[in-house]
């Protein structure tokens, strides 16, 4: 395993230390337990936003702490959900008196740890609502699974709910908007190579040089099926079609198209996938009204990409366009 790290056990701590120094104008990193807050703390009267999950998906979530997005984020060990002792103080730190929205990706570990933390924080007087993001259409949302996973669509929920909170809306309203994003966002990913968890030291799965793994999550877990290496246009279609089908996108609708890199893929390749996914949407009569291309919800150094579509309306579009100032997303 070759990585620019020191002791693999300290990978998260070392990285957060550098992150804190580089973005001291935006964030504050707390240790023992670990959580990250916006500089200046909670905004009085604003709904606070907290998210968190295993590390290894940078810039998600810590890179999205700042104005117009998250008030606090809780990074766990690599690919391991954080524990309540970090989540509880983050929930309190984000609390400006107007309540707190917890944005949780749908993994059993994340859901259970956030549940516990919310129970504790509520017992300590906080008012909290939780939204569970489950945009990954690679997983069937049925009784045969733990439900669809939360992947790149989480960025959309954090950005849009963050903008709603900035407008001074109440907890119910911010929660409603976050839920609306969840209902209207879907994603699907592909791995070109696997990634290696630092303290494990070997790839999370074995992917032969002539195969791609379709339907991967963001935790270095294998996907649903393997296909022979194919041109980007075909791969883009394998990702876009299930997303558009699941969303039941119809002629005349408009979307945000988000092509996300898994960490080790150069942006030049992401734009190839984007171009094809966009043309496929246009062929369906769907307008791509907003776009995002880049590595925002990653799996360490995995090569691969995911395609996310969010059905837009005037409200969501305006909230997406609202200013945001975080380490990783800014406009």
């Amino acid at each position: 395993m070759k990585k620019l790290l020191n002791d693999p056990e300290n990978a998260v701590a070392d990285s957060l230390a550098g992150f804190a120094l580089a973005h001291a104008d935006l964030v504050q990193v707390h240790h023992d337990p670990t959580y990250v807050t916006r500089v200046g703390g909670a905004t009085t009267g604003k709904v606070g936003l907290v998210s968190g999950g295993g590390s290894g998906h940078e810039p998600l979530h810590c890179g999205f702490v700042g104005d117009g997005m998250l008030d606090a984020a809780v990074p766990g060990a690599v690919f391991t959900s954080p524990t309540p002792d970090g989540i509880v103080p983050a929930l309190h730190a984000a609390d400006g008196g107007a309540g707190v929205l917890a944005i949780v990706k749908n993994y059993t570990g994340d859901v259970l740890n956030f549940d516990l933390a919310v129970e504790i924080a509520e017992a300590e007087g906080a008012r909290i609502s939780t939204v569970v993001v489950n945009d990954d259409v690679a997983v069937e949302n049925s009784t045969h699974t733990a439900g669809r996973r939360g992947v790149a669509g989480t960025l959309c929920v954090e950005k849009i709910a963050g903008a709603a909170a900035m407008q001074g809306r109440g907890l119910e309203d911010v929660t409603r908007i976050a839920r609306r994003v969840v209902e209207n966002v879907r994603s699907m990913g592909v791995a070109v190579t696997a990634c290696t968890v630092p303290h494990v030291g070997k790839p999370s799965f074995d992917l032969p040089p002539d195969e791609l793994e379709i339907g991967i999550g963001i935790h270095g877990e294998p996907g649903r099926r393997r296909v022979p290496v194919a041109p980007a246009d075909e791969v883009a279609q394998m990702l876009l079609d299930p997303v558009a089908d699941d969303l039941e996108l119809s002629r005349g609708e408009r979307v945000l198209l988000f092509v996300n890199g898994m960490g080790g893929t150069p942006s030049s390749e992401l734009y190839v996938v984007y171009g094809r996914a966009r043309r496929l949407l246009e062929q369906r009569g769907v307008t791509v009204a907003r776009s995002l291309v880049g590595s925002y919800v990653t799996s360490l150094e995995m090569q691969g990409a995911s395609v996310t579509a969010l059905r837009l309306d005037d409200e969501l579009e305006a909230l997406w366009d609202a200013p945001v100032h975080t380490a990783a997303l800014r406009w």
Partner: protein, 220 residues
């Protein structure tokens, strides 16, 4: 033999040793159908519990320390696991020990209480995780363990109950191999999850085996 706080402490320490020894096996099982961190998660958690037990023992040697209860040890274990394990297994084992602690708030516990302890643990796990037997989770080790303990308790003592539970958990874990997972990360694999043992079921078997081993010792 008495099942007192010393036994409980030996149980937890032996579990810590077991997950350290078997870390790679647990990790490999989780790598096959999950995300490969189960060994790491439990090692981190049980090491933290042992550190707390060491600290508490140092305090307990001071004169005037209150008598130690099984429930105290299990509660400390519960809160420490909750705040250090992470993942799905952290809240599940944490809740299991928290519920178990509630029914073991006595200096010494009898056969009936042991069975109640195991039942409470399982109730905690299902309350939090909503899994039913057959979904290829740790519930598939806990459920036969509780059943076996209940049966054994009818005819034997605490030790018999624990031994029966451990044996049943081991068999229950092995029996997860052919199952298709419908809860937890492994469920994402669908049919591909069959043919692999569930890591949480295996760690449950280790945990209950440690409870039995702890019987044999007088001092940790």
């Amino acid at each position: 033999m008495t099942l007192d706080a010393d036994w409980a402490e030996r149980w937890i320490r032996r579990t810590a040793d077991a997950v350290v020894d078997r870390r790679d096996e647990l990790t490999e099982l989780d790598r096959e159908i999950g995300d490969g961190d189960h060994g790491e998660n439990l090692v981190r958690g049980f090491r933290a519990v042992v550190a707390k037990l060491d600290a508490r023992r140092a305090e307990a040697e001071e004169p005037g320390a209150s008598p130690r209860l099984v429930g105290d040890v299990l509660k400390l274990t519960a809160t420490t696991l909750m705040s250090t394990v992470g993942g799905a297994s952290g809240p599940l084992y944490g809740t299991a020990f928290l519920r178990a602690a509630k029914v073991t708030g006595h200096p010494e516990i009898d056969t009936r209480t042991i069975v109640a302890m195991l039942e409470s643990a399982l109730d905690g796990i299902t309350a939090r995780g909503k899994a039913e037997p057959g979904e290829k989770t740790m519930v598939d080790a806990w459920t036969p363990a509780v059943d076996a303990a209940e049966r054994a308790a009818g005819e034997g003592d605490e030790a018999d109950a624990l031994r029966a539970a451990a044996a049943a958990a081991d068999a229950g874990s092995t029996a997860t191999i052919p199952l298709v997972a419908t809860k937890g990360r492994a469920s994402y694999l669908g049919e591909r999850s069959a043919g692999h043992e569930d890591p949480g079921a295996r760690s449950t078997a280790l945990l209950l085996a440690a409870a039995v081993e702890a019987l044999g010792e007088e001092n940790a």
